[in-house]
């Protein structure tokens, strides 16, 4: 028997390798660097590995359209764009994560115990969060470029496991946070099982796990269509769970609410990019020829996701839950990009994901600032009159909300326009009409928050906006600038995406 040593094409995999080694260095730092110096060292390691990875992504953009790691990873334009978007979002969020006031000092201590109090008083900070973030980022980078089902599954787990943990690390309301983590983990495990189940069917259908092989089998059309259909359905369920599409959304409001806010922002933004990246690859390339099997199914999911997310968000009284339902609605809008199944749809989806991700991180960054003596205030009623007390913070939040609502001159509008016109072009008129109508519904609850902040007088006091640290300020500022710039001058990014947005099979 002859063993061939695998060729890996290290330079193409370098972004992931850089992040992984950054994470491993982070683990070593936990062991060997003194407590006091740890936060600064960890932050600089995390930040520099993210930046290095981004530079490497930019450097290999011309070498793209090739496979690496023996065909289990494909490096092409969209893949690199997704990686770039994830890295930029991660860089913006890492500043937010650096605000240690959001994380419990000692995750292992029982909530309310003496041990916890001591740890908090001693000023211990939780620096493990940086390597965990990097591990999650590595998984996210791999997810949209995976080119066989096994790699896809590994990436899914690598990105999910740290997130489950990070969701439980909130300093305030720790029980809710732990409940969120457990819920996320259980439902996530469940969806992974669905995904594996579906992968097994697809393997049974095509006799291979590689995307190219499955594609060939789909084109050849010799296999059993029932098995193909089952495989598509179960794999889709696993992916739809990650993006929070109805009816697989049940985890997201609780997790969004319970997780530490910087993690919520990071997770909401980056996971969406990664999961939609993988979904777009799978359905645009591998299963494009089987569109009659999955497009009707996706149309129904998109329609109920958009309507449900927008309607339920109206009744939310908690800002994080409201943003959770809003992100469900946005998942619906993004699904119209998957349904479009044309080049315009791919470009629009990439643009939308980036714009939405950046605005999301910014919005959650602002949520971390509104606090009272016992921590963050996410009850919307207590946001009343914020515009009077802290006009800048309230205006920035209002702007992000307008971007979510898709008001012109914000990035959200261009994204919505692009994605709806792509879907319309593909003939999915009904989905577009529902999308436009649910945008109108969604505008209502975004505007209600603006009314609360600006036009309602504060009933009681005690809610105040903390003076943001420089890093948090940086997060919000960068997000704001990107959101404005993409709204007023979207051309450079759109032109940048256009030539790259071609999947290779």
């Amino acid at each position: 028997m002859v063993f061939n040593s695998p060729t890996l094409s290290y330079s193409l995999l370098a972004p992931i390798l850089i992040i992984l080694s950054g994470a491993l260095i982070g683990v070593l730092i936990e062991a060997f660097v003194g407590k006091t110096r740890r936060p600064a060292v960890q932050l600089s390691v995390a930040l520099s590995s993210l930046v290095l990875a981004l530079i490497q992504v930019i450097r290999i953009r011309d070498l793209s359209s090739t496979t690496a790691a023996m065909g289990s990873v494909v490096i092409d334009g969209p893949g690199l764009l997704f990686q770039g978007a994830i890295l930029i979002i991660a860089i913006i969020s890492i500043f937010l994560i650096a605000d240690q006031d959001n994380f419990t000092a000692s995750p292992a201590a029982l909530p309310g115990s003496d041990e916890e109090r001591q740890a908090t008083q001693s000023g211990t900070v939780l620096t493990e969060i940086y390597p965990l973030t990097l591990f999650a980022v590595a998984g996210m980078l791999l997810f949209p470029i995976a080119s066989d089902l096994i790699t896809l599954f590994v990436a899914l787990e690598v990105l999910s496991l740290p997130l489950y943990l990070m969701a439980g690390l909130s300093r305030h309301r720790r029980l809710a946070s732990q409940e969120a983590a457990l819920k996320y983990f259980l439902l996530g495990a469940f969806s992974s099982a669905f995904f594996l189940f579906g992968s097994a069917y697809l393997y049974g259908y095509a006799g291979t796990v590689s995307f190219a092989g499955i594609h060939a089998a789909v084109v050849g059309g010799t296999g059993n269509d029932v098995i193909l259909l089952l495989g598509i359905a179960f794999v889709a369920i696993g992916l739809l769970f990650k993006v929070g599409a109805v009816p697989f959304h049940a985890w997201s409001p609780d997790v969004y609410q319970g997780a530490p806010t910087p993690i919520t922002g990071f997770m909401a933004a980056a996971t969406k990019v990664a999961a939609f990246g993988a979904m777009l690859r799978l359905f645009y390339t591998v299963l494009a020829e089987a569109q009659w099997q999955w497009r009707p199914f996706f149309m129904v999911i998109a329609i109920i996701t958009m309507i449900f997310g927008s309607l339920v968000a109206i009744s939310q009284r908690d800002v994080k839950r409201m943003l959770a339902y809003s992100s469900i609605a946005h998942a619906g809008f993004l699904l119209t990009g998957v349904i479009a199944l044309n080049k315009a749809g791919l470009e629009a989806s990439i643009y939308y994901l980036f714009a939405y991700g950046v605005a999301t991180v910014g919005a959650f960054g602002i949520v971390t600032l509104v606090r009272d003596s016992s921590g963050e205030v996410s009850d919307l009623n207590r946001w009343a009159g914020l515009g009077k007390r802290s006009p800048w913070v309230a205006s920035a939040f209002a702007f992000f909300l307008l971007a979510f609502a898709g008001i012109p001159l914000t990035s959200g509008f261009i994204g919505k326009f692009a994605i709806f016109s792509a879907a319309y072009e593909s003939g999915a008129t009904a989905v577009v009409i529902v999308g436009v109508l649910s945008s109108a519904i969604a505008a209502f609850f975004y505007i209600r928050v603006i009314v609360l902040m600006f036009f309602t007088d504060a009933t009681e006091d005690g809610t105040s906006v903390v003076i943001p640290s420089i890093l948090t300020r940086l997060t919000i500022f960068i997000s704001l600038v990107i959101t404005v710039a993409l709204g007023v001058f979207p051309a450079p990014l759109l032109d940048f995406i256009k030539p790259l947005a071609i999947f290779i099979r």
Binding site: P391, F417, E425, A440, F455, L494
Partner: protein
């Protein structure tokens, strides 16, 4: 171009310190004056017999969608831009102190006004459908904050109602625009150019649906019955100055859009829906007038009279004769001024009396003769007294409509009789009769206020006797619109004088 002047002003204004209130006002006033001057200079260069778009400027904005920053104006747009830029300084001067009671600083108020002015000019001059839509929607934001932040009474509820109505209409229009965009991709390469989109071929069903998307958005904006319910609330809650801009200028975007977009893009569908629209317009005329008669609140009264007036404008547009369309355009201009006069003078009355209920006034003619005469004149203009500007436009609309839809024109004439009622009743209650206790010591207009209202009233009288300068600009454009639609006038047009 001119559009950027107020925006620059707004940016500069933002750098002023919050405490420099007087400076902010003077600066904003100066900016609007300069803008008005530059717009008038532009109007002088305008070649009125040339039916092509003039002052065209095209810059690439988002090339991957074929979106351009494209502006250019015809006679209709020119008239409306003139109206906007002339009203802006008047509004600032007339409501010198109206920003005081707001939630935020005086400076913010004027920044919002200047941003709004930029968008008003932009929305009338855009020739790229996408650019138009962007401004059309973005305009809502400053108005929303103007109503909600500086208004009175139920201001935040009124602001939200206004915003949601308009957003809903706007999103329907967005759906239509997306459809147009996709179709243009199939036929001519992706574009938003109005002229190219007008040549698209589409089935009549498609055209009807797309027409409705645009039309409902515009019918909400220029409130046509049954889409009008937001207007009285918004007008009641907004400051007088905001109301002038809202009813005088912003709502004109609706009627302007009907001419520029509905008729140009969907000529067939426009013809199909004309009977329905004429009926809605006639209902608006009568309904607005009857409700105006019953109003106890001065601002609501003016709002309902406007619904009636917008009925006339819409009827004029969809009667599709060049006479009625010229009349409708002139009507837009005149309505801007007469509503401005009503709101400005009414606003002064309300500020002095501290109440907007009509029955709280009384005998103002004796106490404040100048203010009373101004209100009287504004009211007469609103009911289209011959010799005042609105008469010419109302007459043109009715004559133009009569040649094609005699029944509608005759019913609409009833609106004129009702107009006499809804104006004369408040005039009698507020100005004449015994002086209501509490009104004895109200001060009359001061010099600033006299200066502010003088040009409005002068325009109302002057254009009543000699409307030719405006009509000469409007007529070629209206004839051009009609000829594009393939309509010839049923009877030879008489030069409207």
């Amino acid at each position: 171009m001119t559009a950027l002047l107020p925006l620059t002003g707004a940016v500069l204004l933002a750098t002023l310190p919050k405490s420099a209130e007087l400076r902010a006002k003077q600066f904003a006033f100066g900016t609007t004056l300069v803008t008005a001057a530059s717009a008038i200079a532009m109007a002088v260069q305008f070649q009125r017999d040339n039916t092509d778009l003039q002052f065209v400027e095209v810059r690439s904005w988002i090339p991957s969608f074929g979106i351009n920053y494209a502006v250019g104006i015809d006679g209709i747009a020119l008239v409306l831009i003139l109206m906007s830029v002339i009203l802006a300084p008047i509004v600032i001067l007339a409501g010198w102190n109206e920003a005081q009671g707001g939630r935020w600083s005086v400076k913010t108020f004027y920044i919002l006004i200047l941003v709004l002015e930029t968008m008003m000019i932009g929305v009338f001059s855009a020739t790229d459908v996408f650019l138009f839509y962007v401004i059309f929607e973005a305009m809502l934001v400053p108005v929303y904050f103007l109503i909600g932040g500086y208004g009175t009474g139920e201001r935040s509820a009124a602001a939200v109602k206004f915003l949601l109505y308009s957003l809903f209409g706007g999103l329907l229009m967005l759906a239509s625009i997306i459809a147009l965009y996709v179709m243009s991709g199939d036929q001519a390469g992706h574009t938003f150019d109005l002229a190219k989109l007008a040549n698209l071929e589409m089935s009549s069903t498609t055209q009807n649906f797309l027409f409705l998307g645009f039309f409902i958005a515009f019918a909400i904006k220029a409130p046509l019955w049954p889409f009008h319910t937001w207007l009285p609330d918004a007008a009641q809650s907004a400051t007088p100055g905001t109301s002038v801009l809202l009813l005088g200028v912003l709502d004109k975007v609706g009627t302007f859009g009907m001419i520029r977009y509905c008729l140009t893009l969907f000529p067939e569908a426009s013809k199909t829906f004309t009977p329905v629209i004429i009926v809605l317009a006639v209902i608006s005329i009568i309904y607005g007038a009857i409700l105006a008669i019953g109003q106890k609140d001065l601002k609501r009264l003016i709002a309902f009279t406007s619904i009636s007036h917008f009925g006339f404008i819409t009827m004029g547009i969809f009667a599709m004769t060049s006479q009625s369309q010229s009349g409708a355009t002139l009507y837009m201009f005149n309505h801007g001024f007469s509503t401005a006069a009503l709101f400005i003078v009414g606003g002064w009355m309300i500020a002095r009396r501290g109440s907007s209920t009509i029955s709280d006034f009384g005998g103002l003619q004796r106490v404040t003769p100048v203010m009373a005469w101004c209100f009287f004149l504004a009211g007469m203009s609103s009911l289209a007294l011959p010799g005042l500007s609105s008469f010419v436009s109302e007459f043109l609309v009715l004559v133009g409509t009569y040649t094609r839809y005699p029944v509608a024109a005759i019913i609409a004439t009833v609106g004129i009789i009702l107009a006499a009622l809804y104006i004369l009743i408040p005039v009698q209650r507020a100005l004449h009769g015994p002086t209501t206790p509490g009104n004895e010591n109200l001060p009359d207009l001061n010099l600033r206020e006299k200066i502010a209202i003088a040009p409005v009233l002068a325009a109302i009288i002057a254009l009543g006797f000699y409307p030719a300068p405006l009509l000469n600009v409007i007529n070629p454009a209206a004839v051009h619109v009609n000829s594009q639609l393939g309509f010839t006038d049923p009877v030879p047009t008489v030069e409207g004088k």
